[in-house]
Amino acid sequence: MAPRTVAPFGPQHPVLPEPIQLKITYEDEKVVDVVPAIGYGHRGIEKACELNEYPKNIYLCERICGICSCIHGISYCEVVERLWPIDVPPRAKYLRTIWSEMSRTHSHLLWLGLLADAFGFESMFMQFWRIREKVLDLLEMTTGQRVTQSISVVGGVRRDIDDEQKKKCIEVLREVRKESEALINVLANDYTVKARTVGKGVLTKEQAIALGCTGPHLRASGVKEDCRMQGLQAYGDLGFEPIVEKDGDCYARTLVRCRELLQAIDLQLEAFSKMPEGEIAVRPKGNPPANEAVYRAEQPRGEVFYYAKGNGTRNLERLRVRTPTYANIPSLLVMLPGCELPDVPVIVLSIDPCISCTER
């Protein structure tokens, strides 16, 4: 038997923007065992949410994660609205959908860039991030900020998109779609990319369900499951259909995200064309009643789970957030053993890890 070495992967590693440590046991260059160690970015946000008044928590929840911050804010508002329950005006629902999809667009562009970076395709990385900048500009134009949009309040949204902005959005989104298509063509068909991703980190359908994976990771293994299928917000009107691949390897996960990127742009364009006129917010009456509610939304990385319990005061009794990466980390314990050392970064990246999100 070859001698075994234990080497840490992370918490500081070029492919990981955030700190997670994987203690990997190698036999020569083959991985035989993995133990994840998290806890570098724990901030106690769940506890802070109990101590804060409920409208202030929106801004705290947005800071759980930088990339999906918009959807965190919206999901928090939705779960608190379910305590009353409050019915949000239809235009606000459409606006929430548009901003959610816009964050999905920029998040997937970011991830595709990082993937290219992970296997050393630097110029591809630059290209994706160049396109992403246009989407971030749109977010700044419509919401006021690039990253933490703070756009949702309990009962609706804070800003409207006027006709001029709408025209600009549609124009830029079409441009983004065209440019992404050209790059995705390279990413999906280039033989160097295929050599690094096809057949790596395979997860079967049964394994994916048993390990509780979510999001593109789950759909790449052939499970047709997406929180947007619930038809909440405006997704019910938009004829949403989840994107599924069968192979369950890194290449399938890349393809799911590529196709979701284009789908997200299409959903935005459709939502813009169907958006009804009207109010954008209603005022909640009184404090959240003593009740409990759950809400699940689809983030770029997968399903986010919000649980809220009110007690009739301005503070919440309990708020629990389960972020997508929290559910996806256990799948690494199955995918990594058996793979080669150079494939570790690509497989780890293929779950789109977001660690600060995980630890809250």
């Binding site: 133990v35 160690a37 998290i38 806890g39 724990h42 106690g44 769940e46 506890k47 802070a48 101590l51 049964e206 369900i209 048993a210 390990l211 509780g212 994976c213 789950l218 499970v223 047709k224 499951e225 929180c227 299928m229 619930q230 009740n291 409990e292 509610a293 759950v294 699940r296 399903e303 789970f305 649980y307 319990k309 009794e317 309990r318 629990r320 389960r322 929290y326 559910a327 980390i329 256990p330 314990l333 630890e359």
Partner: protein
Amino acid sequence: MIENIKEVKKDELLAEVKKFADAKARFVTAVCNDLGDKLEVTYFFNMSPGMEMHGLRMTVGKDEEVPSTTGIFLTTVLIENEMKEMFGLKVKDIAIDFGGHMLLAQDSPVTPMLKTGAAGGKGGE
């Protein structure tokens, strides 16, 4: 109100979770609540494929031991460790036991999520 939640006893938990595993359900997450003198743990499962969610709720005393579900769903490793260190829920035989230091460090407050722990934003007092 949350739909489809079933109250279970501590001893029935594993048998009930096994039923979900046999039905090819996907484990979503568990939520722990501090009820004052007791802890309430709710396990959520998604009936795959589809978006229907079911829950199992059990109420246990703060010093009672509860069985680990990691033998059935490996993915509960993280959440059980978290409940153990945040609420002091006594889970026995977790597949990978981080020993109360998965998220918290050596000098962190102990069981900070309890209503009596780390209250008022004062930190570990």
